[in-house]
Amino acid sequence: MSHFEVFGLPRRLAVDTAELRRKFYALSRRWHPDFHQAAPAGAQARALEESARLNAAYRALRDPIARVDYLVRLEEGRETREGADQKPKAPPELLAEMFEIQEALEEAKAGGLDDAGRRGLGADRDRLLARLHAEEARLTGPLSAAWDASAAAARPQALAALKQALATRAYLRTVIDDLNEALGEQADGHVTHRRH
């Protein structure tokens, strides 16, 4: 059962989050293990399982970016082998740009950061942060709408666009985190995304 099916939703990215929350609360009440304490062991186990499934589904669907990420993985599992093997790829010019920024950052760190260097890196960080927000808006806005609107034949293309935007976002987040770290600043609100 997919996370969409848990809530009786079609596999679409446009989700009414207020409605989703209402369904989540209603189903939570139904399956919460506390309400099944007096039930036979089998029913208790079922309640626990349903409750865990529900929580996982809600976590994956309530946030529009997590939703795209989930949809992409779901679609790839369902598609044929060739499709599933396709890794998300960032545009080559983005890779080149990320490489250059990392190189500049490395040099700046090796030479010790003076005020001018610090301002330069800070400006890079702010510029990339603006791009990150723009990319996220594109992902949850027009690209998500394009997926929902596309007919079967156009779906691989819409999916590829979603994947590429997710990849771009991942790169931007990494380099922003690295810049923040070099500047000795906390990440800007988003969950810090660390390398292993």
Partner: protein
């Protein structure tokens, strides 16, 4: 995460870090990345145009220890190989040599992709001018 001794060794003493001018004759450049972790890897080969043997290889990787070790090892292996032999290097060879754990296998895949991209770039540059345009 416990790294194997070989990973630690390549991480602390990476071999062949640096770059060639990408327009230098005989140089092939591969720039690849792993969006899941934001890693970027540049790997370059320098082929002797008379013999077709890879004379030198360089890399620069921004990423985790395993990604650095995988690309460092790849440059060591590339040197002295012909272009055709180099194409046979598999990510599984890197996994075995560095004893990478399953969660780090994608780092070796990235290194294999980088080798392939560098070889493809080299071959494109060797193609006679105008070839490829004739198929249209």
């Amino acid at each position: 995460m416990a790294y194997s001794d070989k990973v630690v060794d390549h991480y602390n003493n990476p071999r062949n870090v640096g770059s060639f001018g990408k327009d230098t004759p005989g140089v092939g450049t591969g720039l690849v990345g792993a969006p899941e972790c934001g890693d970027v890897m540049k790997l370059q080969i320098k082929v002797n145009l008379e013999t077709g043997v890879i004379e030198d290889a360089k890399f620069k990787t921004f990423g985790c220890g395993s990604a650095i070790a995988s690309s460092s090892l790849a440059t060591e292996w590339l040197k002295g190989k012909s272009v055709d032999e180099a194409a046979k290097i598999k990510n599984t060879d890197i996994v075995n040599e560095l004893k990478l754990p399953p969660v780090k296998i994608h780092c070796s895949v990235l290194a294999e992709d980088a080798i392939k991209a560098a070889l493809a770039d080299y071959k494109t540059k060797q193609a006679p001018v105008g070839a490829g345009a004739t198929t249209k």
